[in-house]
Point group: C2
């Protein structure tokens, strides 16, 4: 039996608006067809959030068709029919024989489709920043007459300015991230295993907040003493010790959209150094947020932070954040010195002020914010505390 | 202050043994240097499990050096010092200015290092199956005199035969996966939100089993009616309905190593069709396991399954599984017709018998097994039931 369409997160008009923006960019680049393999871009353009992107799949957008065609593994095609706004005729499942096959894979099916579409001698956009070198060579050798154009981040730049529909999901995701922080504050106690803390935090991130469930679990990090100078360790097998510090990073997820937050915890009274760093970073965070408005640049935001913490004798050598949306970070603007991207209403950023100062000492705080018509809406709402537990 | 070495999961001799096998392969391929970017391969060769692979990083193995050099983002270098067996001089943190920088990225630092190493005119192995086309072009243009050899899966093939140390971790991971299935059987009830079920399951997978914590959360899927014909949907926003079927896939994780399991749940009595499919699949699973011994092929295992379920009038069009280990599936052998890979002791597979028969109807069962000297050890131990809840 055919699978039924699932509840749609966005109206069809929202997807057509997004596709129209992509097609405008395609015309500018003089390409007739665009092959999108990046999972986050596919989520954006169709509503698909199933996790099948570990094998080849591609959304093929043609200037001559209103809806794109989604080619993916046969076994994942029902999920695409169910989740996306696409007509079922626009979902094409390629044979399972192309899986674990060293000679032909799903991209061969995609290239066959480009030939059928009559695009083999046209301008074809592909994502050379995501496509493996091996797969890119396949496109080049099997489409020798096409003019292949790199469009790695074309959709990502369009994703940067969110619609109000998307902002609603990011607010919900932010509330979930905040609930993760509250849960951590409740369960971090001396003698508790780190894994048991993260069990509770992960459960909270799935349960969600305000009646809105988390729809996935984003990456989460719990970097405790002596690992506070690290940033991407899930958690360790240790128990929590009196006097330890914990740097937590979590994200809430709503239908692909992520809002992220970082907070630092101290088991017992923090050291003077940690307290001073926390105060400098909160001042820096507030200074950075105060610069956020349409017309400011990413560089302005970062420099407001850098200049503020320097007054207290601190320094951060990494960027102050990045555009955020589907599947966490977007590969577009960074909040860093010299990034002259101009802020516009409904851009969203993770103002990520994690500061790993020495190999064995770091501190984290962050917020997810939206640029408004006149300033800034901070989506995450957790207290800007150094949580003492 | 320098960060201390963390507890080591494997002895140094284990890593040197793995590296010796890689170097033997490098000599065969006549390459002097091998650049490994794949995160699972890096875990295998160093013990690093932090999740920093979303920006460039590479382990550079030279025939002239006992230990490889790990180049990664400055901010992640302390995690590499802490987690890996490498001497600290073998961890190189490249500047944060290479992050979010359209002109130069971490691979430029890797290529600079290859020049310093004197490898610029030698045989250099890279992973063209993982490196993006853009990054591969950078290697080619900045190493014009090197002989670049594709080594995408060279380390993966070596990973296939596990040591007893690795098997111990996979047994622990399997017990965690089993605990996830038990937890699901306990909490799947009509009226409960799917997200709340997966909150409990995720928490269990983090808490672990038998006093061994989960060290990460692997992918998890909860595909309920009317989505039992899909396979990679995390979960939906729905509640569980009387009469629904649920296809669950979870994995336990121990220090990067994953054991996976799938089981099907029926809320109330299953349909006759589901019951018949379950019985056919269990018989097929047992027939497949009965063929597992050194000298059998992957094809033999798959065909034992296919022939058995065909007797009951069923058919599965996808492969019957794949090599499993670090970060779930390994890109080497598949349990499929025609894959003549010979089974050897301590190879591990996910015998994945998910069978998505119609768009709206599928069933799942799987086990993670190890090839022994004379047969098969099934690592996952959950009852082979169609769980009625």
């Amino acid at each position: 039996m055919p699978i039924a369409k699932g509840p749609q997160v966005f109206p069809r008009s929202e997807y057509l608006r997004r596709l129209a923006a992509v097609k405008t960019e395609m015309r500018r680049l003089e390409i007739e067809v665009l092959v999108i393999g990046n999972s986050s871009d596919i989520t954006y353009l169709t509503g698909y959030t199933a996790r099948s992107g570990y094998v080849p799949q591609a959304l093929v957008i043609s200037l001559n068709e209103e809806e794109p065609t989604f080619l993916l593994r046969r076994q994942d095609a029902p999920a695409a029919v169910h989740q996306t706004f696409l007509e079922r005729g626009k979902v094409f499942g390629y044979p399972e024989t192309l899986i674990g096959n060293p000679d032909r894979d799903g991209f061969d099916a995609v290239i066959d489709f480009l030939h059928e579409l009559g695009a083999a001698d046209r301008g074809v956009g592909v994502q050379l920043g995501y496509l493996s070198a091996k797969s890119a060579r396949k496109f080049e050798s099997r489409l020798p007459n096409a003019r292949i154009v790199d469009c790695s981040h074309s959709v990502a730049w369009i994703r940067m300015i969110k619609s109000d529909f998307e902002i609603t999901l990011m607010r919900e995701a932010a509330a979930i991230a905040d609930a993760g922080v509250s849960k951590a504050a409740e369960v971090i106690r001396p003698g508790v295993r780190e894994a048991d803390v993260m069990a509770e935090v992960a459960a909270q991130l799935a349960r969600g907040a305000n009646g809105k469930a988390g729809t996935d679990l984003a990456s989460m990090y719990f970097c405790s003493s002596p690992r506070t100078g690290t940033c991407h360790i899930r958690w360790s097998e240790d128990v929590i010790h009196p006097g330890s510090q914990i740097n937590l990073e979590v994200g809430g997820v709503r239908h692909g959209y992520v809002s992220a937050i970082m907070r630092t915890f101290s088991v017992g009274a923090p050291s003077d150094r940690l307290r001073r760093l926390h105060e400098a970073e909160v001042a820096g965070l507030e200074a950075a947020l105060a610069t956020v408005r349409p017309g400011s640049t990413c560089s302005d935001v970062a420099n407001a932070f850098y200049r503020t913490i320097e007054k207290s004798g601190f320094h951060k050598d990494s960027r102050c954040g990045y555009a955020i949306g589907i599947d966490w970070s977007e590969p577009t603007a960074s909040l860093k010195d010299g990034d002259m991207t101009e802020l516009k209403p409904n851009m969203t950023f993770h103002l990520m002020l994690g500061n790993w100062i020495e190999e064995d000492f770091g501190y984290v705080i962050s917020e997810t914010f939206r640029v408004t018509d006149s300033g800034c809406e901070v989506l995450t709402k957790s207290p800007r505390e150094l949580f003492e537990v």
